[in-house]
C-alpha cells in the first residue's frame, strides 16, 4: 500500500496539488496554534508559554505512533519512507547555529512563512535573513564541503543507533513527552506571566 505516490497508487501528476493542500493545512495549523507570533514561540525558552513544546511533541508522538500502527496493519511500509540522513557533526553544529538563530530571530523557517502571510514585518525580515543565510552557505560551500559531507552515518534511525525495538523507543518517547507536558505546566505556574 502506502506511501501512495511513490508506489504509483496515486499518479505523480497529483503530487504538486497534494503538496499545496498539505502546505495549506500545515500553514493553517501553525498559524492557528499561534506559531506566527515570535513572542509566543520564544516563550518556550523563558517558561511563559510552552505552546512550541506541546505542539511539537504532541505532533511527533501522534505521527510516530500512527505510522507504526499503519506499518503494523500493512497500510504503509516504514522502510519505504524517507529517513532524514544523519551527518553527525553537521547536524549538531547546524542545530546549534539554528538554536542561536531561533533565540535571536524568534522564528524558524516554517513559522516565519506564516508570519509573512499575516503581515508581520519581523517575519518578513527574518525570511530575508534566511535567504541571505542560505546564500552565504552556498557561496562558501567549497570551504564547508568537507564538514558538510563528513561523518555521514547514512539514513539511520534510533532503531539502528540504539539497537532496540522501535516500539520500546516510541513507548519511552511518549512517556518523556507526557512528563515534559506536566513539567512545562508546573514551570509555567511558577514563572511570571508575560503578556504579548
Amino acid at each position: 500500500m502506502g506511501p501512495l505516490i511513490p508506489n504509483g497508487i496515486i499518479p505523480e501528476d497529483w503530487n504538486y496539488i497534494i503538496a499545496i493542500l498539505i502546505g495549506l493545512a500545515f500553514g493553517y495549523i501553525l498559524e492557528a496554534s499561534g506559531f506566527s507570533s515570535s513572542r509566543k514561540l520564544a516563550g518556550v525558552f523563558y517558561g511563559y508559554d510552552f505552546a512550541v513544546l506541546k505542539v511539537f511533541f504532541t505532533s511527533a508522538v501522534v505521527a510516530v505512533i500512527g505510522l507504526y500502527y499503519m506499518d503494523y496493519l500493512n497500510w504503509v511500509d516504514i522502510s519505504q519512507l524517507y529517513v532524514h540522513p544523519t551527518y553527525l557533526w553537521a547536524a549538531i553544529i547546524g542545530g546549534m547555529i539554528m538554536g542561536v538563530g531561533f533565540l535571536a530571530g524568534g522564528f524558524c523557517p516554517g513559522t516565519s512563512l506564516c508570519a509573512v502571510a499575516i503581515g508581520k514585518i519581523d517575519g518578513m525580515v527574518f525570511t530575508l535573513g534566511l535567504i541571505i543565510g542560505i546564500f552565504i552557505f552556498s557561496e562558501s560551500f567549497s570551504a564547508l564541503e568537507p564538514f558538510f559531507e563528513g561523518s555521514n552515518l547514512g539514513n539511520i534511525t534510533l532503531v539502528d543507533t540504539l539497537g532496540i525495538s522501535p516500539y520500546w523507543i516510541i513507548f519511552v518517547f511518549t512517556i518523556i513527552a507526557l512528563v515534559a507536558f506536566a513539567f512545562s505546566d508546573w514551570v509555567r505556574s511558577k514563572v511570571k506571566k508575560v503578556f504579548y
Binding site: G23, L30, G34, T58, D122, L130, S138, N155, T161
Partner: protein
Amino acid sequence: MKDKKQQNRHVYWNPYFGGFLLGLLILFTFYMTGRGLGASGALKSSVVTMVNTVAPTHAQNNTYYSKFIKEGESPMNNWLVFEAIGVLLGAFLSGAFTGRLKLKVQHSPKITSKRRLIFALAGGLLFGLGAQIARGCTSGAALSGMAVLSTGGFITMMAIFGTGYAVAYFFRKNWI
C-alpha cells in the same frame, strides 16, 4: 478586564489540539508522499533560482547550486516550493478568519522595532545557515525526522533546543 483582553488578543488553539492535527498531517504526508514536511527547502530553491537567473555561469560552477539545477527544469518546480505556497495560503486564511491580518512589527515593549528587526535579520541569517548545514530546519529535520525516528532528526532537535536554552539568558531582554 476588557482592556486586558484587548491587549491579549491571542486566542489560539489549544496546543495539544494543534499538535494532534499537525501529527495527523505529518502522518498523512508520509502516507501520501513517503516524505515529511519542510520549509527551508523552498527558500533554498528560491535562492538557487535567483542566483541562476542573475548569474547562470556562476551557479553552474558552484558545486552547491549545481546540485539543484537540472537541464530544462526550473528549481522552483519542486515539491517543497508548492508546499511553501500552501503554507502561505493556509496561514493567510487562518489569520483572516481570526482577524490577525495586520502589518506590524511584533516586539517586546522593552525594545524598539529597529532592534527587533536587526535581531530578526541576524537570526534569520543564522537559521538559514544552520538549516543548510544540518540539511533541514525544525520542520524538515527535527519534526519529520522524529516521526520516522531518524537519529539525525533527534540530534538536530536536541541541538536546536539545547542551544536555545543555553543562550536564552543573553537574549532575555528581547523577549521578556
